[in-house]
């Protein structure tokens, strides 16, 4: 009974290849987009360097800037051309090094002030701070060398983890949660309302098949799709964009599947309240889209105003992502913060209760 239904469900899922393709495309597109912006080869953009000086210092500066890999660099533009390109957003900015920059007089009684010009687009704060930040750092050590002084006030950085983690790693774990959320909530709520509209649910209740077997089979067959989704996202992240996953891959999948279960239950709850497929689709979108932005898929929740953060951290996706990141990025146990586990379990119980209370295969 169960075996036949389960295999039939899996078969149908794969035959409905259009819907499968979209279940995969969405998270994969996100993995690619963020990978291109923030993956290992990502830079802060392209800048032009107009170097008219032939001094050692200007040479060292340009070399250091190239080596830093912060920007892609073009060197064959004129100042006017560069300004035009900045206006057109083809360039993040330009650095103009005048002819006499870095030329040291033979008898250095007084060295004249040496200035290079950074041409910026006021709209691009990130690019500007990267250009000025790099130049500041380079010049202050240069200045101190020349004046033969040692810095008194310095700093050192200490990482809370020795793991090499970047923004892309953070986002990739977010996309995992996003993928299981979208495919589970939308998948279940739309499929169930469609089945109800087509009277397939009603037809099934005329047979001796127990409702719980029907539901378990739906849930499990969808989890198989979720596993494939997770593997596809991780493969793109790790092999194409060199994302860092330090956790046990099976544990990552397991945590994501617990999330999938929670969101499938949410799908059943939505189906219970939606009379038509369109209504279910609308309600599912109204729930997933805000959650995508508020639950910390792309940006840490802490960037939100404190009172908003204190609310949205309880959205079901939020604790799931915290657990997922702890497991995938830091290789921790999923139980390292029991508060997150408790919130996830709380949502599962709540959604299960609503589904049992309201979801029916037939009208009565």
């Amino acid at each position: 009974m169960f075996k036949n239904l389960f295999f039939a469900d899996v078969k149908m899922m794969f035959r409905n290849y259009q819907s499968i393709i979209w279940a995969f495309m969405f998270p994969i597109i996100f993995s690619f987009i963020f990978g291109l912006f923030f993956g290992k080869d990502a830079t802060s953009g392209t800048i032009a360097i107009i170097n008219e000086s032939s001094s050692d210092i200007s040479g060292q500066y340009v070399t250091a800037l190239k080596d830093s890999g912060i920007f892609k660099i073009v060197e064959d533009e004129s100042v006017d051309q560069a300004k035009e390109d900045i206006k057109k957003s083809k360039l993040v900015g330009a650095i103009e090094i005048p002819k006499e920059f870095g030329e040291m007089p033979q008898a250095p009684l007084v060295i004249p002030e040496q200035k290079l010009k950074i041409i910026i687009d006021p709209g691009n704060a990130q690019g500007n701070s990267a250009m000025t930040g790099f130049t500041d750092k380079f010049f202050s050590s240069l200045n101190m060398n020349f004046q033969n002084v040692k810095p008194i006030f310095t700093y050192e950085t200490e990482k809370t983890t020795n793991l090499d983690l970047g923004y892309y790693d953070f986002v990739l774990a977010g996309i995992l949660g996003l993928a299981v959320m979208n495919s589970s909530i939308i998948g279940i709520s739309v499929a169930m309302t469609k089945y109800r509209e087509d009277k397939i649910l009603k037809r099934i209740t005329t047979t001796p098949l127990p409702t719980w077997i029907f539901i378990i089979s739906e849930v499990l067959s969808r989890l198989i799709i979720n596993v494939l989704q997770i593997l596809a996202i991780l493969a793109i992240g790790v092999y194409v964009f060199s994302a860092n996953i330090y956790g046990n891959i099976f544990m990552v999948i397991l945590v994501a599947l617990v999330g999938a279960l929670l969101f499938q239950l949410m799908g059943f709850a939505i189906a219970a309240f939606s009379k038509t497929t369109d209504a279910a689709q609308g309600m599912a979108t109204a729930i997933t889209i805000p959650m995508m932005f508020l639950a910390g898929v792309f940006f840490p929740i802490d960037s939100l105003p404190a009172w908003v953060a204190s609310i949205v951290k309880y959205l079901p996706l939020a604790p799931l992502l915290r657990i997922l990141r702890a497991v995938a990025l830091e290789g921790n146990s999923p139980f390292i913060d029991m508060k997150n586990v408790a919130i996830v379990l709380g949502w599962i119980v709540a959604m299960l209760a609503i589904s049992i209370w309201k979801f029916r295969l037939t009208d009565e």
């Binding site: 009974m1 039939a8 078969k11 047979t207």
Partner: protein, 306 residues
Amino acid sequence: MKKVIEVKNLVKQYGKINAVDGISFDVSQGEVFGLLGENGAGKSTTLEIIEGLRKSTGGSVKILGLDIKKNKNEIKTKIGVQLQSSAYYNFLKLKEIVSLFCSFYGSCLDPIALLDTVGLKEKANSYVMNLSGGQKQRFSIVASLVNDPEIVFLDEPTTGLDPLARRNLWHLISDIKSKGKTVILTTHYMEEAEALCDRVAIMEKGKILALDDTHKLIEQSKNPFTISFITEKKKLNEKIFGQVIKLGEIENLFGKQNHFILHLKTREALNKALVLVQKLNPESIKVGEASLEDLFIDLTGKTISE
């Protein structure tokens, strides 16, 4: 005959409306029983209560001696249900749907052999969406036979089909009957009920207006006999025509000036009228019986509409 379905004082309320209003009937083993009525008469609701899909507000239903409220699961294994305009899975082939539904009952008939009984063997590897309307209905009936049920419920099995496909289905239903199964069907096609049903209940607003053997019902009609005749267009003998009209109720067939149907109460009147109509030199004359439709019009004062 053993009674396989016993319905007593069945009531179904939706708010203040009685969709089913205290109806009682029995269905005997091996017969085809028809529930006839317009949309909204309460046919489907009645059927779905008997099938265990809806809960009744009052009354009792026994199927094969089992109370529907207490033995729902046991009953489900012994009945086959075809729902009104029910779709099946889009991404399973016909033979896969049949064997899937078989598995719900624990035992499996050969799906291909089963499809063969309704002429769908060649379509075993097709999807439901690639079937014609008639094929879909035949499939939906065969899907209700997977568990070799004792009672088969068919809810408007021929609605929306073309005449040929409908006739095709009538053969299928009589095949089911010939295997000793009891069939209970709803329809709003009078000729379908006349052709298929051993007994018919006519429903209107949740009540049963008439229930009897199909031919007895028709005889209960106010005017059991009819003469249909076409007179010459040019002239009509007004004097004789006047005498004809007095014998029964005359009806002018829709818009045709010279085509009449005379409804008659008795065989005596029929004989008299035949002699008179002959004198009109009709181009065509046909003697017939009342139909279930005539009875329906008598009972409800209106024609049945789809």
